[in-house]
Symmetry: C2
Subunit: 188 residues, 2 copies
Amino acid sequence: MGRWPGGTQERLQEAAIELFTERGYERTTVAEIATRAGLTERTFYNHFADKREVLFPGQDSFIAKVREAVGAAPAEQSPLDAVNAAFIAGSDWFDQRREAAQRRRHILDAHTDLREREWAKLAALGEAITAALRTRGIPDPAATLTAAVSVTAYQLAAARWLADPQYGTLGHHLHTSFEDLHRTARSW
Amino acid sequence: MGRWPGGTQERLQEAAIELFTERGYERTTVAEIATRAGLTERTFYNHFADKREVLFPGQDSFIAKVREAVGAAPAEQSPLDAVNAAFIAGSDWFDQRREAAQRRRHILDAHTDLREREWAKLAALGEAITAALRTRGIPDPAATLTAAVSVTAYQLAAARWLADPQYGTLGHHLHTSFEDLHRTARSW
DNA sequence: TACGGTGATTGCAGAACCTGTCATCACCGT
DNA sequence: ACGGTGATGACAGGTTCTGCAATCACCGTA
């Protein structure tokens, strides 16, 4: 058992994705993940709150970044544009991990448990954006509605990004998704 | 142990809400819920997929009703109005259960686990509406965006309905929430 | 080199969740 | 009286997750 080789979380994440794709999420135990990473089950739980969380690395810091970017946006920018810009500013990270995102999505789509966690993360993102918009002086309910619709546009962009055979950037798809949103909102 | 006294699910739900408010969600075991209802733990799991599900009675049938109502809306109605009308059509059920909804909300707010499940239900509602809108000929991404923003407006209305000291109906709050949505969308 | 502090890792026990399997029971029609 | 049906119960077992305390490697300091 190599002890302290560093990168513990990353090793656990890779081991988890490997095993999930090999045997499926439910047929993989936390103990197996830890063993493949050269660690123990207990250590897994020192790094991740539960079994699902290993599939959502960096989500919390992404949320924090978006919140910060929305708060720091120029005052003359519309709320929706501010959120859009914040998403685009953080999109490089994803473009560099397209393949990992693909595998992750396949696992997520196959298990309701995991999609539940994903929705929870998206809800947290929405609440963070709502809070940031409020500090920009946007009152409720506009803040809540704008945040929610932004998250939906973001989801849409992410889906297109993963499905795009042309390998367009996430930023590009965010741009078109928010254009679609403007167009659709005009019909409401 | 009264066997087959009828209303098994309802008894389990009431026992669960009682115990959750008395000791809290985490400090209540499924076995305790079942015992208070005069049943066994195994029977609980014959009626509910897991411990959380006991707090979401009728959600699935509500989703089915909304899907149906959206599909059956008059053709001249705009997509957003169709969803709004579908919500209002199913709002009586909630108005008759305001107090239970209050207690349920207090329990939900205190536990991330349960809010996660709630988000999952809302996501399922959104997907059902998306599907219904597509059968009405609304193409993507308009169907997805319209459904998502409708669900958000619904959440907003439900929150106001529970907080309203005047005890206004859910239908009333749905009306004003969708008006807010129209107003906000004009700024996008 | 010796020593102690710090933080990560581990072992162990145990509660609770959830499932599979099969037996048992009440009801109902014949 | 009899058999079918469906809900309930008993039991075993795996898995998830937590609390607690011990162990280990590293690092600065004397």
